[in-house]
């Protein structure tokens, strides 16, 4: 739209070409392979940066749009573009991919295949965030499964096969139903307009009957909920994380999980506003359950990676909560929290990986007193830990607070429960930190530890800078989201209201939804009104 060169396409497919190029290099030339892969990732990242600068924050339109017919017979087009919601996830992906390739420097085993898998994975992930065509989206969504599956399965830990198959089958199980739903939408659009198209922007305009909305929402919900993963669909995550190699965990936590939450924002809400509203009680309670449950379970983990994995369940609960409270603070907080989680949890996995490379164990009990030997690592570890527990001034807080604010506006009880997550996260993270980094060195193995080297510093430093940046001055991010989020919410709200009025639903529901948009200025009345008994709402839903 504002740039003639297809920058999104270039960024997305450059890694794929890099991968193809790597195919023709001999596997023995490890250094060369690593350098080429790194170069591709760096170039890719650099090319993606102008997006941030050129992005126009005053419009909710999709930008950098490119639309080319692809499979005309089905009305499938290569339609890509970004708005304020996907922009950051796109950038995060290209950034983390770069980090991951650098983090994989010490892999000796079949480095060529590894780098190819990483680069293909990068293309897949980037594609998911820019697709504006449902078919294209689904294709990228599935495409990225294969390299991830291989990364866990080939370069993973001892139980990697179980973990990777679980990951793959779980995700597939969720996404096939989504495919059915996508096809249903496709034909529904045809029936209404006579045009075969998978174009998301056109399908947005569909007026979907309520019964269909319910089922379609469910179909999408399963795909996304598994990906996120929401409680209780989360059990693949700890396994996958524990077995995956460091970079795999980083990508998994940093990007893959975000696809689920992104899916909710991009697809579920605008496509099925009524069903989304109907499902709010269920989803918010699940999210809150996830927050508490993930935190509690994380507390008693003995394995570092598992701990971080369960903490992801907890953090992603916040994101979901933010998305499903239908107000601007919640949504922006949710999106910001996606990025924050990508950065801080990604970095935590990197750090665990660094420790693992040195000590070949992930059991917390095997560590202790590491700070003594690795003071620089300790600083970064501390920063990531604090970011993860949402210390104000660091990125985690901004997102978490906005989510809580949004939640508080729509449901006080849930907000209160979610806020306890703040306490719990401090418990498990700090306890872990204490056991790993503090105390005396009791295990003689630990006294041989060497502090991080320059490459590792180069991994953590940029993330740390971003963490501080977002924590102190998140405005450049929030302002770029603003228009898109606003547009999205108005869109959802208008559709929801028309549906309601068509249904002739009683006025007070209508009012409640209106008052959410307007900013609360006063009165206790409003508060009690908005915090209607969630249990009652749940019952209402199932009636």
């Amino acid at each position: 739209m504002n740039c003639d060169c297809p920058i999104l396409t270039i960024v997305t497919f450059l890694p794929l070409f890099g991968a193809i190029f790597l195919l023709f290099i001999k596997g023995e030339e490890q250094e060369k392979i690593k350098r080429i892969a790194l170069a591709v990732a760096i170039i890719d990242f650099i090319i993606s940066l102008p997006l941030f600068i050129l992005f126009k924050s005053d419009t909710s339109e999709f930008q950098f749009v490119q639309s080319v017919p692809w499979i005309k017979e089905f009305g499938i087009s290569y339609h890509v573009g970004i708005d304020g919601i996907s922009l950051f996830l796109f950038l995060l992906t290209s950034f983390l991919s770069l980090i991951c390739i650098l983090a994989s420097w010490n892999i000796k085993d079949r480095i060529k295949e590894y780098m190819i898998a990483m680069l293909v994975l990068q293309t897949g992930m980037l594609g998911v965030f820019i697709s504006l065509d449902l078919f294209l989206f689904y294709m990228f969504w599935e495409l990225m499964l294969i390299p991830m599956y291989l990364i866990i399965g080939v370069w993973g830990g001892p139980r990697r096969i179980y973990a990777t198959i679980k990951f793959f089958v779980y995700t597939m199980a969720g996404s096939v139903l989504m495919l059915v739903a996508i096809l249903f939408l496709y034909f529904m659009h045809y029936n209404e307009t006579g045009e075969y198209t998978f174009d998301l922007l056109k399908i947005y305009n569909l007026d979907i009957p309520l019964g269909a909305q319910f089922w379609l929402f469910l179909a999408f919900f399963f795909a996304f909920a598994i990906k996120v993963p929401m409680f209780p669909f989360h059990t693949w995550l700890p396994d996958a994380h524990v077995e995956a190699p460091t970079a795999g965990s980083v990508i998994l936590a940093g990007v893959l999980l975000k696809m689920g939450t992104y899916g909710f924002v991009r697809f579920s809400l605008p496509l099925f506003p009524y069903a989304s509203h109907q499902f709010v009680p269920l989803i918010t309670w699940l999210a809150v359950a996830g927050i508490i449950y993930g935190a509690l379970v994380a507390m008693v983990q003995e394995d570092l990676k598992k701990l971080v994995a369960y903490s992801s369940v907890s953090h992603l609960g916040f994101v979901i909560l933010g998305i499903f409270v239908f107000n601007i603070q919640g949504m922006e907080g949710g999106i910001l929290q996606m990025i924050n989680h990508g950065l801080s949890t990604g970095a935590l996995f990197l750090i665990v990986g660094m420790l693992y490379e040195r000590r070949h164990t992930r059991l917390i009990a095997d560590y202790g007193g590491v700070t003594k030997k690795m003071p620089i690592l300790a600083i970064f570890f501390m920063v990531m830990t604090l970011s993860s527990i949402g210390l104000p001034g660091l990125n985690g807080f901004v997102g978490e607070f906005l989510v809580l604010l949004g939640t508080f506006k729509s449901n006080v009880l849930i907000a209160v429960i979610a806020t306890t997550g703040v306490i719990l996260s401090a418990c498990y993270m700090l306890w872990m930190f204490q056991r790993v980094m503090f105390n005396k060195i009791t295990n003689p193995e630990n006294s041989k530890l060497k502090d991080i080297n320059r490459r590792e510093l180069a991994l953590l430093l940029p993330i740390t800078i971003l963490i501080f940046w977002i924590g102190i001055y998140p405005k450049p991010l929030l302002s770029r989201m603003d228009a898109s989020v606003n547009h999205l919410l108005t869109q959802v709200d208008e559709k929801y209201k028309t549906t309601l009025s068509r249904l002739g639903k009683n006025e007070d529901v209508l009012l409640a939804s209106e008052s959410k948009r307007e900013d609360y200025k006063t009165s206790e009345v409003r508060i009690s009104e908005s915090s209607q008994n969630p249990v009652k709402r749940l019952i209402k839903l199932w009636k």
């Binding site: 692809w70 499979i71 294709m139 599956y149 080939v154 198959i165 597939m172 199980a173 249903f184």
Partner: protein, 483 residues
């Protein structure tokens, strides 16, 4: 009494003629020529198939009935003929090395394959139950022999015998069904049967229903749908691998070609009845196929069950019918031909002499040893599992979108869930390839240039048409009208 010789149109059967003549010619060469020349029989038959392909290609757009309306040339049959020829050509490429290695380098091998192809083409173009019957038998008898072609091997013998006995048994049912239809309508011509049923729609002769049911048995056997599928795992496992590859693609496609044409042309009025039966069959077929495939250890047997499951998906297309359904079936058959033949080609390459019954475990560590073959195998497996952006995904996508369009949402959902189950066993192959240590030394590969061509061609087809399926979809849509 005056005998009128009905007009016939040789042009319409020119592909069949050319292949038949070539087949006989090859048999003669085999008998009368020297050894060195015999080694070139594969090339000759390959060239003939390719040439025939061009001939078939020129038939696009013709819609001709000939031989007293017993044979038809329309885009539908042309599309299927191209699939058959593709399958035949690729199988010939794969066979060359194999039959030499196994010491069964006899000229009749190619002859039989070509005759089977003739049978399939007859099936695709058959507009009369008689022609169809002839086509089926021609194909089947050739395949009986091919299945037992490595005649010193017990497995091969067994496969052949089982195939033969059950095939003949089912032929009886099918013929009885044809007889019933004939008895009820007085004709064996598909269109005339349809006309008769439409005209007498007031009272439906139960014989027609029974006849149709018996035909389902016959065709169901050919496409290996549950519960008529039981021959296929045994036969697939026992037959020489290229023959298995052949059986799982061309003849299966031919079975579908006939199935669809008979039921949509001759019995459209009964659709509400048979579509329910087929609905149930499709569900059972894909479920059983996928479930049993999980616990298989032999890769050929596993692919046999996978092939059963795929038959289940393809049945969905028949149930859906209509242009969309037909086009999706056409596309699916082509997709399946590409990816399945590719997978078998890899199995052939890796097969050692004698112990060609590769177990899945034998692929352990393939990724370490032969990375390119490993990647190729993974591509085929992922494609079979229906993961984008490979052709198998587009195929499934097409079929299930057809199902949803026509309102068969439950069927689509069941199919989707099934394809998730299928992921499990396809993944197992890739797991073994990449994630397990080799349990034995790989023998030196029996790579011949021909089979490399076959593998490259199938990979290109699987990937390229997965990403840019437009042309084939367009062609399939054009061909989706039964003339």
């Amino acid at each position: 009494m005056e005998i009128v010789i009905p007009p016939f149109d040789l042009k319409s059967i020119s592909p069949i003629m050319s292949i038949s003549i070539a087949a006989i010619f090859i048999l003669l060469i085999d008998v009368f020529f020297r050894r060195t020349f015999k080694d070139r029989l594969g090339y000759i038959s390959f060239l003939v198939v390719i040439a025939t392909g061009f001939v078939v290609y020129t038939q696009i757009g013709q819609n001709v009935y000939s031989f007293s309306n017993m044979f038809v040339v329309d885009n539908y049959s042309v599309f299927f003929n191209l699939i058959f020829l593709l399958s035949t050509a690729l199988v010939i490429l794969m066979s060359d090395n194999y039959i030499k290695q196994e010491g069964v380098n006899y000229g009749e091998y190619y002859t039989l394959i070509l005759f089977a192809t003739v049978g399939m083409m007859l099936m695709a173009g058959g507009a009369d139950l008689l022609t169809i019957f002839l086509g089926i038998e021609m194909m089947s008898i050739s395949l009986y022999v091919l299945a037992g072609f490595t005649r010193d091997k017990l497995r091969s013998n067994e496969a052949s015998l089982k195939y033969f006995l059950l095939g003949a048994f089912v032929t009886g049912f099918m013929l009885y069904g044809i007889a019933m239809l004939y008895g009820a309508t007085g004709t064996t011509n598909l269109k005339e049967i349809a006309t008769f049923i439409t005209e007498n729609s007031g009272q439906l002769n139960p014989m027609i229903v029974v006849g149709a049911s018996l035909l389902i048995i016959g065709f169901g056997f050919k496409i290996a749908c549950v519960p008529f599928h039981k021959w296929s795992p045994d036969v697939y496992e026992g037959s020489p691998t290229p023959v298995t590859a052949f059986m799982s693609t061309g003849p299966k496609a031919a079975g579908f070609a006939v199935f669809l044409r008979v039921f949509l042309v001759a019995l459209p009025d009964l659709e509400p009845k048979w579509s329910i039966i087929l609905w149930v069959l499709a569900v059972i077929t894909m479920t059983v196929g996928n479930l049993v495939a999980i616990s298989q250890t032999n890769i050929k047997r596993m692919l046999a069950y996978s092939s059963i499951a795929h038959a289940g998906y393809a049945l969905v297309a028949i149930i859906v019918g209509g242009e969309f359904g037909i086009a999706s079936l056409l596309f699916y058959m082509l997709a399946y031909t590409f990816m399945n033949l590719g997978a078998f080609a890899i199995i052939i390459v890796l097969g050692k002499k004698g112990e060609e019954n590769a177990n899945i475990e034998d692929f352990s560590g393939l990724g370490y040893k032969h990375p390119l073959l490993a990647i190729a195998m993974c591509i085929f497996m992922f494609s079979l599992a229906g993961i984008p952006p490979l052709i198998g995904f587009i195929g499934k996508f097409y079929i299930f979108s057809a199902a949803i369009k026509s309102g068969f949402i439950v069927l689509a959902v069941i199919g989707m869930i099934n394809s998730v189950i299928s992921v499990y066993y396809y993944l197992r192959v890739t797991v073994v390839i990449y994630m397990k240590k080799p349990i034995r030394e790989f023998s030196p590969l029996s790579l011949s240039p021909l089979i490399i061509v076959a593998i490259i061609f199938t990979i290109c087809g699987t990937v390229y048409f997965g990403i840019f399926p437009s042309k084939i979809i367009a062609f399939a849509q054009q061909s989706a009208v039964l003339y």
